[in-house]
Every structure is written in C-alpha cells, then in structure tokens.
Amino acid sequence: MWDGEAAGAALPVVLEGFGITLLATVLGFAVAAVLGLALAVVERAGPRWVAVPLRGAAGFVRSTPLLVQLFAAWVLVPKLDALALGVLVLGVHYATYLSEVYRTGIDAVPRGQWEACTALSLPRRRVWRAVVLPQAVRNVLPPLGNYAVSLFKETPLLSVITVHEMVHEANAFGSTHFAYLESFTLAGAVFLLASWPTSLLVRRLEARLAH
C-alpha cells in the first residue's frame, strides 16, 4: 500500500516539477490577461471587419479542447520551445475566456461615465485608459482570480508536449519506481494546498469588492 519511503523520494521530484507548473501558470495567465483585454476592447471598439471575424475565432477557440489545440500547435509550429509554446496556447485559450470576463466588466461601467467623458471631450484613447478600463478591471478581479486558479489546474496538460511540469514528473517517478500511488497522491495534495488558499483569497476579495 502506501510506501512512506517512496513518498519521501517522490516529494522533491514532484516539488521540482511544481516550479515549472508555477512558471507556466504565471506566464500563461500573463499572456491571457493582456491578450484577453485586447480582445475585449477590439471586439467592442474595433472596426466591424476586424471585430466580427475575431469574435468568431475566439468563440471557436473557446469551444474546442485545449488538449487538441496543444497537439495541433505542437505539430504545426515545430520550431518553438515546448514550454514557450505551451504557455502561448494556454494563454490564447484562456484569453478567449477572459475577454468575456472583461466584457461584462466593461458593460458594468455606468453610462454616465461615458457621457461624462464625452462632455469633457476626452480623446477615445484616454477614455479607455483612464476611465473605463480601471473601473472595469477592478470589478472583475474575483472572476479573473478564479480563472487563474483554473488555469493553474489545467497546466498538467502541458505534459503532452513534453513540458516537465509536476504531473509529468509525478508520472515519470511513478513509472520508474513503480510508485504511482505515492507520486500522484502527492501531486494532488500539492494542487489542493496551492489552490484552496488562493480560492479562499479570491472569495475574500469578492466580499470586499461587493460593498
């Protein structure tokens, strides 16, 4: 059954993989946050001939599996480093989710704010940068946090394109030492220990922003 010795040996290996997992999470979410915001603004304020096809493409990416997208990108873009490619695909996939989040945030900015900008004849650029986006992003911080946690839990997918993140390491350790039970249980525990406090934090943020 449970072998304490194997678990002790697996722990450093799993934790080393956790470093890559964290790196992929942070970089992936950074790509998603920036690209998602750009998507939301262009879909809303860009010219129709850009906005309409972009919305269609984003919808397609959103409704197809990340795993298949990773396979496709891995085979079709052979020159890129695995981690970089994984981060990009993860980032683009989540950008299509986040653009919807930003969109609801932008919609929630009161009409009066836009009208005040018009009354002051602020340039469009400034309206977005100084008035609308700061309010919109602040309102959607909790859902953004939830998506960050969810992205974190999807990073194991990168193992299929040879990124040596935590689940990849757990699997490798499990197969060489015949200790799947210990290695995968530890990986699950690390996920739980990392994601639970984060989602509690997000919930507190939500409560604080609610009033």
Binding site: V75, V160, T162
Partner: protein, 273 residues
C-alpha cells in the same frame, strides 16, 4: 497496469504503432508522437496529400463513428454522474445540520482543488496499486463526474440560494413539508437559473473528454490521431477534430437553450411558449 508504461509525453496509443520520425522538433520531442508519421508540417497538406487524406478518411469512417460514440458516451455518462453529485452536494451544503453542511463543503473543495488531470491519472495508475482496477472508460467517467459534480454543486447551491426567501415562507404558511416545498416550490424556480451555468459546465466537460485518450480510451481524438498518423495530413486532421468538437459543443448549446426555454415556460416567464 504499470507495464502499459504510460508516458504523457508520448500519447500512449502512438507508442503501439508508428516509430517517431524526426520532424525537426526539439530533441526532447523524440518521445513525442503526434506529428511523428513523417508529417512535414504544411507540406503534408498539399493537393496530393489531401486526396490521400480523403480516401483514408472514408476508409476510417466506421472507426471515427465509434470514436465519436465513445466521446458522446463519456460526455453523457460523466454529465449524468456530475448532475447527480451536484444535487446531492449542492443541497447538502445548504443543510441546517453542520456536519452535513461541513462534510459537503469539504468534499466539494477537495474535488475542485485537486486537478481533474491528477484525479484521472490517480484513478488510472494509483488506484490499481490499492487493489482496485477500473476500465479506462470507467476511470474517465468517474473523474469527469466527480470533478464537474463539485463545480455543479456550487451552481445548485447558488441557484437554490437565489430563490427569494418569501417563496419558502409562503410554502411554510401553506403548511407544506420541507421535501414538498423543495420539490414543488424552490427547485422549479432554481432550475431555470441553473440551466445557463450548467450549459457552460457541459461544454467544459465535453472539452475535457479528449483527456480520456491519454488513458487509452479510444475516443474521437484517439481515432483521428490514428488517421493523422496514417496519412501525415496533420493540419487537416486536427482541423477536422477541432471542427467536430466545435460542432458538438454548438449542438449541446442549442439543446441546453431549449431546456432553458422549457424551464422558464413552466414558470410562465419570458421566452416560454
């Protein structure tokens, strides 16, 4: 189970057949299989290539149908289990009794906090070491059901909480019992609120099913990957696969929209016939 030598980096079903041919990928990719069938990205999709692809595709149609059936089966069974679990956990986490409520919360947090991928691999690789061996498809359905059930529990809990308190009070005033109140007053109204979030979860669940191909379940991803290996038409194969998932997701969306209209119609709300 261990001699299956699953290697996530090597898409297990690939290791059965085609020897990896160098595609100019990074050295680490030697172990990686998709794209290994001599597919020069882009070049395999020339006119000659696509003719071969179509012929191969026609020959593979029965297998593709099987694969699609497996995907639909995994989605349907996973969703059924998830729905059941969502109701049990969601209603329990509104229980007046602390042990029930606390227990449900713990289970939900546990299932949400440990990644779906870890859960699936745990069921497939670690559970046999404890003496329980499940069929690959059963592992997949169980993992999908448990994970999405926990997310669904939050939906059920939220929807029930969103039904105005006065509705429950009116039920009490009419001396309805708790079960009757839940069944005839609260849940019908909560259902209408649940359908939209459940639609998102269902599409998410469908999009998680290709994971099952990693634990040797012959779903549509598995089958199309076989076609891709045989023809080398990488772009065409994956585009087709993405299209199938996108189309299925759209169909599920239409189905759920109809359900939402029906739920609202029963309440006499807008959108009903």
């Amino acid at each position: 189970m261990a001699d299956l030598a699953f290697d996530p980096a090597g898409h297990p079903f690939e290791s059965v057949g085609h020897a990896p041919a160098s595609t100019g990928l990074a050295p680490a990719s030697a172990a990686y299989a998709p794209g290994s069938a001599g597919a020069v990205p882009g070049a395999g999709d020339s006119l000659a290539g696509s003719a071969g692809f179509l012929t191969e595709l026609r020959g593979a149609l029965p297998r593709l149908a099987d694969g699609l059936l497996v995907t639909v089966e995994a989605t349907a069974l996973g969703a059924a289990l998830a729905l059941l679990l969502a109701y049990v956990l969601g209603l329990s986490s509104r229980s007046a009794r602390l042990p029930v409520r606390g227990g449900a919360r713990l289970v939900v947090e546990f299932l949400r906090g440990t990644s779906l991928y870890v859960q699936l691999f745990w069921l497939f690789f670690a559970l046999p070491m404890l003496g329980f061996r499940l069929e690959p498809l059963a592992c997949g359905v169980l993992a999908l059901g448990l994970n999405f059930g926990a997310y669904g529990a939050e939906v059920v809990r939220g929807a029930v909480a969103a039904v105005p308190r006065a509705q429950t009070e009116a039920g009490i005033a009419l001396s309805m019992g708790p079960a009757l109140r839940l069944r005839r007053v609260v849940l019908p109204q909560a259902h209408a609120l649940m359908v939209a979030p459940f639609k998102n979860l269902l599409v998410q669940l469908l999009k998680a099913t290709p994971l099952l191909s990693l634990v040797t379940v012959p779903d549509i991803t598995f089958q199309i990957d076989q076609v891709r290996s045989a023809t080398g038409s990488t772009a065409a194969s994956y585009l087709l696969l993405l299209g199938i998932y996108g189309g299925t997701a759209a169909l599920l969306g239409l189905l759920m929209n109809a359900l939402e209209r029906a739920a609202k119609a029963r309440l006499g709300q807008e959108g009903g016939v």
